[in-house]
């Protein structure tokens, strides 16, 4: 009886979650309160952690609380530090949370909130959290080594190299997509552009203060920085209202692209303390603060969700991105459900800080549940706004036109009745010239957040402030990611090229560094540029490419975990990783195949290239091209995207083959063959609660 009672308590969370989810799924009313959605998710998370997360910990992996972790073994007070699990949870969550879980669900809302919600919740419980947790465990048993190293030692050097190469390509795509979100959010928006530009001098001031005036005082200067940020949002409103200054900060998408490319190169070359680190502090604190604020806001306001639970676009004809629910929903919502990128964090700093193996589930599995909750909030934010506004914001101009009257007519035709006045009024409420065709997720999320937050603080008059606050919040950490990512990409590239030209490995030398940075910026800059000039909005092209790449990396990480389970002779539990691996492979390979070979030019790169080629032969010029040379450029880009997609498929398939082989060999062996570091007992007294 003693054993059953606590279980009943935990199970109650699951039952409450399931009831709420059933209510959400079966509700056929006009609107539904967002609290149902939030409660459903949280209830299921808690039960999933208690039952599935701890099942993996105790049964599948058999975590050993007496085993010494790398943090204890190599404790140096710097890189390896045994850390309180709650403190480490915060560190880990701050490292995995980014723009991904915010943007994916917003884009997925075109099919209604229900399909997205189901995948976010099911995906995280069965795939995403499993991956994050198990990679953390695997890395922690191997001195906190990185994903590439782990694949090299458990699967072999060739798949290790392939995975490293794949990771670099994914990095490039991520940087391009993130940068494009910023471009889409700031184009023709003097208010947004001014505030984001103002973060550069603010960060530099903070950097100098922390370096020379009062070294290392993060807290006080972050508060000053935050006040300056708020000041820049308020000042931005004045700038946008003044014709002279507004013109100074109004840029087209292409202009912003060039500015970002230049920025990326310079920022990645500057010393880290000057710009990158201080902005990282601001963006991290702002990110965490905003996420908490949004959660409180949703509970406090309890907004009604106006998006239908399912729209007609589940058939694949949606304007935001094309393709059927299967497989494209599952790659559009990437980070909130499962994200391969997290495998890099789980095999990065976190395992070096883990004080005891028994806390790995709380940090790895629990941290990812939290990230998933962020995705649910993003889905809520996208669903509380008028669906007509949502589609006006996210559909490309090529489909809906540019004029409010025309746009409203077109979207009303789809069944989302909206008047031109509402579109104009919403734009003026948030202090923008227009909200039409502002794809990329960030502006929609910002409208949704403003919609929720202005009901908590400030009322209608503060809507424009909250909109630009939300834009700033996203742009700030995206720019930090672009800067840090370019540096990381440069190191990866130098590592890769160094295998062929040893001089490239010299990361302390100026010339190889400049070439590395230049190549890295050029790579993401090129993809960014082609996305920005894409007539279908770029998101349609790049986001699926990103999703495919990210989910494939997750499949690679899960293949690694499967191999490790086989090598530990625990293959009877291998279904825990095989199940999500198979699902991810099915989604990504189908999506990849369709992106390359589908007959519809809206979905497939090759079909679109053929459409442009055919037009070029007839001597026609199709938008966005304005000349024959540009037509050739578009055709080339389509082939490039197809090749990238194909490359990702080859990467994941070859890792699969190597993984299957490793499992086969491990199975034949009579004893465990995994390359764990030898068992050492935790010293007396450090086996704490």
């Amino acid at each position: 009886m003693k054993k059953v009672l606590p279980h009943l308590g935990w199970a109650a969370f699951g039952i409450i979650g399931a009831i709420c989810l059933a209510f959400v799924a079966l509700s056929r009313g006009e609107t539904i309160n967002a609290l149902w959605v939030v409660t459903a998710a949280v209830g299921i998370y808690i039960a999933a952690y208690r039952f599935y997360g701890l099942f993996i910990a105790h049964k599948v992996l058999a975590v050993d609380p007496t085993r010494m972790t790398p943090a204890v073994k190599h404790n140096d007070g710097l890189d390896y530090v045994p850390t309180n699990r709650h403190v480490l949870f915060g560190h880990h969550f701050a490292a995995i949370a980014g723009a991904g879980p915010l943007v994916g669900p917003v884009l997925a809302a075109q099919m209604g909130y229900l399909p997205g919600l189901l995948w976010i919740v099911a995906g995280v419980v069965l795939a995403g959290a499993v991956q994050d947790f198990m990679v953390l465990f695997v890395s922690s048993r191997r001195d906190g080594r990185s994903l590439g190293d782990l694949i090299k030692s458990e699967l072999g050097p060739v798949p290790g190299m392939i995975a490293l190469f794949g990771t670099f390509l994914i990095m490039v795509i991520i940087l391009a997509v993130l940068a494009m979100i910023v471009v889409k959010a700031l184009a023709e928006s003097p208010w947004g552009t001014f505030t984001v530009a103002a973060t550069i001098p603010i960060a530099i001031f903070m950097g100098i203060y922390m370096r020379y005036i009062r070294p290392g005082r993060i807290g006080e200067i972050s508060i000053v920085g935050f006040i300056l940020l708020i000041g820049s949002i308020l000042l931005g409103g004045k700038v946008a209202a003044d014709p002279y200054w507004a013109a100074m900060f109004t840029f087209t998408g292409v202009e912003l692209t060039w500015l970002l490319i230049g920025y990326g190169f310079i920022a990645a070359s500057l010393p880290v303390w000057l710009l990158l680190a201080p902005r990282d502090y601001l963006s991290t604190f702002l990110k965490i603060g905003t996420i908490i604020g949004l959660a409180i806001g949703i509970v406090f306001v309890a907004p009604e969700m106006h998006m239908p639970h399912m729209t007609q676009f589940v058939d694949g004809t949606g304007p935001v991105w094309s393709g059927n629910l299967f497989p494209f929903l599952f790659i559009t919502i990437a980070c909130g459900a499962v994200s391969g990128f997290h495998a890099l964090i789980s095999s990065g700093t976190t395992p070096k800080l883990l004080d005891n193996e028994k806390h790995a589930a709380f940090i790895g599995y629990g941290g990812m549940l939290m990230e998933s909750f962020v995705a649910v909030m993003a889905l809520v934010a996208a669903s509380v706004i008028d669906p007509g506004v949502y589609f006006a914001m996210n559909s490309p101009a090529a489909l809906i036109g540019k004029d409010a009257v025309e746009v409203a007519a077109k979207i009303s035709q789809w069944g989302f009745v909206i008047t031109p006045d509402v579109l104009l009024q919403t734009a003026s409420d948030v202090g923008e010239h227009t909200i039409i065709s502002r794809a990329g997720g960030a502006p929609t999320l910002a409208v949704g957040m403003a919609h929720i937050l202005h009901q908590v603080i400030g009322g209608k008059a503060m809507m424009a402030f909250w909109y630009h606050f939300a834009i700033l919040f996203e742009a700030l950490f995206i720019l930090t990611a672009v800067d840090a990512g370019t540096r990381a990409g440069r190191f990866m590239l130098q590592d890769l090229l160094g295998a062929f030209v040893p001089a490239f490995k010299r990361t302390d030398r100026l010339v190889p560094n400049m070439i590395g940075t230049g190549l890295c910026v050029a790579a993401w800059g090129y993809i960014l540029y082609q996305g920005v000039v894409d007539p279908l909005g770029g998101i349609n092209t790049l986001w699926p490419l990103f999703g495919v790449a990210n989910q494939m990396l997750a499949a690679v990480a899960l293949i690694l975990c499967t191999v490790v389970l086989f090598k530990m002779k625990r293959e009877r539990y291998a279904w825990v990783t095989i199940l999500p691996t198979v699902w991810l492979l099915a989604c990504t390979l189908t999506a990849g195949w369709q992106k390359i070979f589908d007959a519809s030019p809206k979905v497939a790169f090759l079909a679109n290239a053929a459409r442009f080629s055919a037009a070029a032969e007839r001597g026609e010029v199709l938008a966005p091209a304005t000349s024959m040379a540009q037509m050739q450029q578009v055709i080339f880009n389509q082939y490039l995207d197809a090749a990238l997609c194909g490359l990702f498929m080859i990467v994941v398939l070859s890792v699969l083959v190597y993984g299957a082989r490793a499992c086969w060999i491990a199975r034949a062996s009579s004893k465990p063959t995994s390359h764990e570091s030898a068992y050492e007992a935790l010293p007396e007294g450090s086996v704490s609660a």
Partner: protein, 73 residues
């Protein structure tokens, strides 16, 4: 008497919570606990002089962005 004890323990808990929050915020941006570092160095490497807080801060700042992937999408 019992009331005072309780009050003390509440203050103690609050102070502990404050330290946790501070530690969490610092570690989120890659700065581990300086006191723990000093204590560790004194205890395990008595021959070394621990870095000053300023040196420690700069060292960790460089380390955070010195190569590894520190940020996610």
């Amino acid at each position: 008497m019992a009331g005072r004890l309780m009050e003390e323990s509440v203050f103690k808990d609050l102070a502990k919570l404050g330290k946790y929050l501070g530690d969490t915020a610092r570690l989120m941006v890659g700065q581990p606990d300086y006191d723990a570092y000093v204590q560790h160095t004194r205890l395990k490497h008595p021959d070394r002089t621990p870095m000053t807080y300023e040196e420690f801060f700069r060292d960790r700042q460089e380390a955070r962005f010195g190569g590894a992937v520190g940020k996610c999408c």
